[in-house]
Symmetry: C2
Subunit: 418 residues, 2 copies
């Protein structure tokens, strides 16, 4: 079968399965998730045999130890995947929830009922455990999913897909509700992006290159985030000790992720007090500071920032620092260089807190808390399938609810329109 | 200035204006809407002079009388546009509404705040009054808008845009919050669809050709509906008199619109009772009936339907009729041929009503009411900017709320992540 035919068939299958999935009661879905979790735990040997093929190829290709580590399905990782499925089973089912019901003057009762999106195309890089996480969230939200992982994880992704499918079948559910594209041919992505007749939404997860490619080539709507250039603004009315804790956490706790702070903005009135001690602690943790002219005056030895540092997503122990004349300059800076991902203010001023929350146009805006809280779990959505920095459909972390939409339901007694 | 430069400039302007608009209190926006309405009423002569240029060109080009009628800005139409703006002013402002606020175990308070989308690109055909309707809805929801109307209405659209802009400026608001693209060059649409840096969403309104073109060429997310192939299913447990009223209304009251019924599905047990009287009334109103084999047996003289009639959007006094063996066949037919727009069941059975509401995957699903109620005003959303039949972001009629999104707001007391 040609690749084009294969992808058409997978799309058709997914659409058929989605019709079954959208009608499943929660208990059926939760049982399936539990069966999937058991399937992974009971077949660790089978998983490891396939995973070793990927690892051998990765070593041959000279991938870094960090990459190989991310690729490895250890006993610990398999257990985590199984636990993840059980956690999704424990989350409330968004499907069928009626959000509001109102009465029209003519007696019609109108409401909005939450329903699955239908078929989700999920395109991702590296870590094979994402295969299981994504499949679990899609199943629970009543969606069929077509998964396209990285070519370096093809054997691992395939065996995980098989085990999930077997668990579905054993529970009397359609095996093809979860399908892994069985090829490393990059052309498969292009074909997937053309299946507008069958696929309702594409979610890419990975580097900016992958996401831009998907966004530029898809005929299907895409939920995406390009990058996180997150700011912390330390206001003149900040509790400076709290500000230092938050900045340290936002930069250092996990610098390689999208919700880490990349730029620190400091009000000029508190900069001389705040910056030296903050910088000392950050530097002790290995952070390189690239500052504006005034920052460099306050922190001896700081490197002067280049224009390219302000919109940069370092994903590393590097921090851009700018002293601003006031909150307006901070807001302007965020508007100009930010990525609409996550922004925090540290302040004790009621007015400033309120204005910052209202005026910053980012998916998560925080007062007196670390940017690292932009995460579905941390914000109380349960597991997340990604973060959206475009505003349509979802803005911010996407949990189960973001994998659904609402339709209008109308109860009448024979009403006609005049 | 080249067209590309012009469009870039319009995009940049819109983005700057959107930053002002998103912070405006409701009273400011409502005052502006009222000022816009007055501006139209006070400048009827100026509007008519420009409108006459379009009408003269339309006559020269040999456009039909119906088209010329749609293009005409009569005193009545101008008053309706002004009234429409006043109605939008009276609607509740969705911006700033906090939808839910919950507490996390670490003490963080997390909520979702409704915010404008930002900049909307609106592409439409014919009726120039859409210029005013769209501008009003975008302003009220805090969005800047770039409008591209049909070339046959260019003078009318331009003068309306100027008057709206003047009203904004007189009220101290940025004039360029509403911009009409000042050219009939079709290339402007292509350039608009590339302004992903400035425009957050594209909403096309018009024929299927326009919408497909926009969807195929846009790098910006598109909210769209292709067509409405709406079904009424008359169940074996229907009140047949009610069913006839609903079917007559759904087909005849306004056959040229997307929420009119195109296909009637009738349970075989009631078909012999139901169809003859229903057909008689429909035919008396000029409706041509194209039926399945069994329909043709029951309604003498009905034309046999071709396969192409089942997925057809007639937008005319034509009705496809099929006798089905039961609700399952009706659901299968809707799944196969429907457009996810609007579907209705007529039944007195609690079970059937409940199952139909849950299982039909359309933007509006009704029990015992006409499909003609799929409309923002009729469902209680206030004025609508369009209907979406794709599931992302909005599904069904789009009112003010669908021109917004939510961001997460987080109140902390120094929380950091472990």
């Amino acid at each position: 079968m040609s690749l084009a035919d294969l992808m058409q068939q997978m799309g058709r299958e997914a659409r058929v399965c989605s019709r079954v999935l959208r009608r499943l009661p929660s208990t059926k879905k939760d049982e399936a998730l539990e069966r999937m979790a058991r399937g992974l735990l009971d077949n660790q040997e089978r998983i490891r045999i396939e995973n070793k093929k990927d690892l051998a190829q990765a070593r041959e290709a000279g991938l870094s130890e960090a990459m190989i580590d991310r690729l490895t399905l250890s006993e610990r990782v398999i257990r985590d995947m199984a636990d993840g499925l059980m956690e999704v089973a424990a989350l409330p089912d968004p499907v069928g929830k009626v959000e509001g019901m109102w009465k029209r003057p003519n007696g019609l009762s109108v409401g909005r009922m939450r329903i699955p999106l239908g078929v989700i195309g999920f395109i991702y890089e590296s870590r094979p455990n994402v295969t299981v996480d994504a499949a679990g969230l899609c199943l629970k939200s009543g969606n069929a999913v077509i998964l396209k992982g990285g070519s370096e994880a093809i054997h691992s992704n395939m065996v995980l897909g098989e085990l999930l499918g077997e668990a579905l079948r054993q529970g009397g559910l359609p095996q093809n509700a979860v399908q892994v594209i069985p090829t490393t041919d990059r052309e498969a992505v292009n074909r997937l992006l053309e299946l507008e007749e069958y696929v309702d939404v594409i979610i890419p997860r990975g580097g900016e290159g992958l996401i831009r490619f998907v966004a530029d080539h898809s005929r299907i709507p895409v939920l995406k985030h390009y990058k996180g250039v997150c700011h912390v603004y330390v206001d003149e009315h900040a509790d400076l000790e709290m500000a230092r804790e938050i900045c340290f956490n936002a930069k250092v706790q996990r610098p390689g992720v999208c919700n880490a702070m990349e730029t620190l903005l400091v009000h000029q009135r508190v900069a001389p007090d705040f910056l030296p001690a903050a910088a000392e602690r950050l530097r002790a943790a290995g952070v390189e500071i690239r500052g504006c002219t005034r920052t460099v005056e306050i922190i001896p030895g700081a490197v002067e920032a280049a224009e390219s540092d302000w919109p940069a997503e370092f994903l590393d122990l590097v921090l851009a620092v700018k002293v601003v004349s006031g909150m307006d300059e901070a807001l302007d800076h965020i508007e100009r260089y930010g990525s609409r991902h996550t922004e925090a203010i540290v302040t004790e001023s009621y007015d400033r807190a309120r204005a910052f929350l209202e005026e910053v146009d980012s998916s998560v805006v925080l007062v007196n808390a670390s940017t690292r809280f932009n995460d579905g779990n941390q914000l109380g959505l349960g597991a997340e399938i990604g973060i959206s920095t475009s505003k349509l459909h979802a803005f911010g972390p996407m949990g189960l609810e973001e994998l659904t939409t609402t339709k209008f339901i109308v109860y009448g007694q024979g009403q006609i329109r005049n």
